[in-house]
């Protein structure tokens, strides 16, 4: 049920926007380069070349690794590896507040982030700030669960994995509107 709503909203948003860009795929004749020349430089990328860096995760879950995590474990990891900068409950700072459950507060995951997969992707690639890229996938799932639970986005005890994480519906998604401005006199 949750998953269905999520899918519809996403595809409607993205389709309506992408349609503005449909003159694809015409090579640009500008810049004095013959529009069809192919130079064949570099070398073919092997699966190993790609796999060493391909860590991105999409809202539909593409890119999520195996493994799972729960908030209870995430809380312990957070205390060890994150609390020094974000506070024990994620709001005491000194760096970004990570928990917010109503729109009057500072923008944070609970009231501003439109997709739960982004929490996983960002923590895995960029945190902890002083030791980025050192967390295991299990740790990232656990930390994601801890933060989503603290933001009251998921029910206590929810297990997050490659199937359940993309199905999480974020409260802020409904606030997101695509930029459809294309210049001209209107101020928006």
């Amino acid at each position: 049920m949750m998953k269905t709503i999520f899918k519809i909203t996403t595809s409607v948003l993205l389709l309506s926007w992408a349609s503005g860009f449909r003159s694809f795929p015409k090579p640009s004749p500008a810049w004095g380069i013959a529009s069809d020349t192919i130079f064949n430089l570099g070398r073919p990328a092997t699966p190993a070349d790609i796999n060493r860096w391909d860590i991105d995760v999409r809202p539909d879950g593409k890119g999520l690794p195996k493994g799972s995590g729960m908030a209870r474990k995430g809380k312990t990891i957070f205390a060890q590896k994150c609390a020094a900068c974000h506070g024990v409950t994620g709001v005491e700072g000194p760096n970004d507040k990570l928990v917010s459950t109503d729109s009057s507060q500072v923008k944070a995951i609970g009231n501003y982030w439109p997709y739960a997969t982004t929490v996983f992707d960002y923590i895995r690639r960029a945190m902890p700030f002083n030791q980025p890229g050192t967390l295991t996938d299990e740790e990232v799932y656990s930390l994601t669960a801890f933060l989503l639970e603290a933001n009251q986005v998921i029910k206590p005890g929810t297990e997050l994995n490659a199937q359940t994480l993309p199905a999480v519906r974020m409260p802020a998604l409904k606030k997101y509107i695509l930029d459809d401005r294309t210049g001209g006199p209107i101020i928006r």
């Binding site: 795929p25 640009s28 860096w53 690639r125």
Partner: protein, 412 residues
């Protein structure tokens, strides 16, 4: 140190006395003088010798140039960014060492011989490119501005152009058109987006419409005639003319084609702006047209009489069409002269000659771009968006000229 008849005419070959080397009562300054065998020594000179440059041989040619010791333009760094001193610059090219910086976890040290760019995803032929490979493609050189979309500050009348909007700079960029590379990898027609990823400690990622790659996107490895600086993405970066700076991923290491965007942290939690009715606007890529008077502006001190009002204007949607100046706080407007050639998606200089009668007044500039979009007032923006700031906030800036010649930010 006078050169007497029969004495050797240059200090380079003069035996330097111990008194002069260490400085004595007569010493007014210490200058650098090249001694025999190409070593430089510090030398004390008298006031007369210092003030008359024709009485002392100058510094010989060097390996790299230096700024005059009397000129000290500096960026203004914080933990996360560093701002261009717009009020200290002339013309429209930002000296590379004064180009603004915004990074999300420092500037990485990258050995170009070890750095690779992987291009994969929805393509026929995934490839790996090095800097050397990129330089073998046909090159394109283009002058463009680059601006961070979070480029608005207010809150004090003592803010300079650097403080208000120093997160914009302009360079001549050289590199390869992304479309040239797109053709080689054979982009799947069903791919609508690509993810660009940096090799910094933030492993910065943004989703970019494939169409931008076909239109005018580049991978650039040079800036203002030399290799791009580490702060700007050495050995190479993505460059998306007219788009908010964060998307021009520095230290580029990966491009992945996809049939959907990724909604990364930098395109959701950040680089989105609150608009009317509690909505959050995302994927706002284009930089809206903006202008700012850089002279006279805080902290300049001016005198009544002729003043050439100068500044820069730009738009991410094309060329600057017109800049207007008001010298009566926005009541009446007059066209400024544009310093041509006016380039697409580029800072464009403007000037307006004006005679100030010495009475307090407010001067403003506003730009109209080729789409017909005119830079709004602060109030117009606040009314349209229902918020007093945020990303892509480009209001008219006003400067108050005080009778004593001080120039202060209006509504600071």
């Amino acid at each position: 140190m006078k050169v007497l008849p029969g004495e050797k005419p240059t200090l380079l070959h003069t035996k330097v006395s111990r008194r002069k080397l260490l400085g004595g009562a007569a010493a007014a300054a210490i200058v650098l003088v090249e001694a025999p065998f190409a070593s430089a020594v510090q030398m004390a000179v008298t006031q007369a010798e210092l003030t008359d440059p024709t009485k002392i041989p100058g510094v010989p040619p060097g390996q790299v140039g230096t700024r005059s010791a009397f000129e000290k333009p500096v960026k203004k760094p914080s933990d996360i960014s560093s701002r261009t001193p717009l009020q200290d610059l002339f013309g429209t090219i930002t000296p590379s060492d004064l180009h603004f910086e915004r990074n999300h976890n420092g500037v990485p040290a990258i050995d170009p011989a070890k750095h690779e760019l992987v291009i994969h995803g929805m393509v026929e032929k995934p490839i790996v490119l090095t800097l050397a490979d990129l330089k073998r493609f046909p090159s394109v050189t283009r002058i463009c501005f680059l601006e961070c979309s979070g480029n608005f500050r207010s809150g004090s009348e003592k803010l300079s152009p650097q403080d208000i909007c120093g997160l914009t700079s302009q360079s001549e960029w050289t590199g390869v058109m992304l479309s040239t590379i797109f053709r080689q990898v054979g982009v799947d027609p069903k791919a609508t987006w690509f993810l660009a990823e940096g090799s910094d400690a933030a492993v910065m990622t943004r989703s970019i419409p494939v169409q931008k790659g076909w239109d005018d996107a580049m991978i650039v490895y040079a800036q203002n005639g030399e290799a791009i600086r580490p702060e700007q993405g050495y050995p190479f970066r993505l460059f998306l003319p007219g788009y908010e700076g964060n998307m021009s991923i520095k230290w580029l290491r990966r491009i992945e084609f996809s049939d959907a965007p990724y909604l990364t942290r930098e395109e959701t939690s950040k680089y989105t702006e609150p608009v009317k009715d509690g909505k959050i606007r995302y994927f706002s890529f284009d930089i809206d047209a903006r202008s700012i008077i850089t002279f006279p502006a805080y902290p300049a001190q001016v005198q009544k009489g002729w003043i050439e009002i100068r500044g820069i204007a730009w738009s991410g949607r094309g060329k600057v069409q017109r800049v207007e100046i008001s010298t009566d706080a926005g009541k009446s407007w007059h066209s400024a002269s544009l310093n041509g050639p006016v380039l697409d998606k580029a800072h464009t200089g403007f000037r307006y000659l004006w005679q100030w009668n010495g009475r307090e007044t407010e001067i403003q500039s506003r730009v109209t771009d080729e789409t017909g979009y005119r830079q709004p007032t602060y109030q117009e923006l606040v009314t349209a968006r229902g918020s007093k700031g945020g990303y892509h906030f480009n209001p008219i800036t006003g400067w108050i000229l005080k009778p004593d010649g001080r120039v202060l930010l209006s509504n600071g």
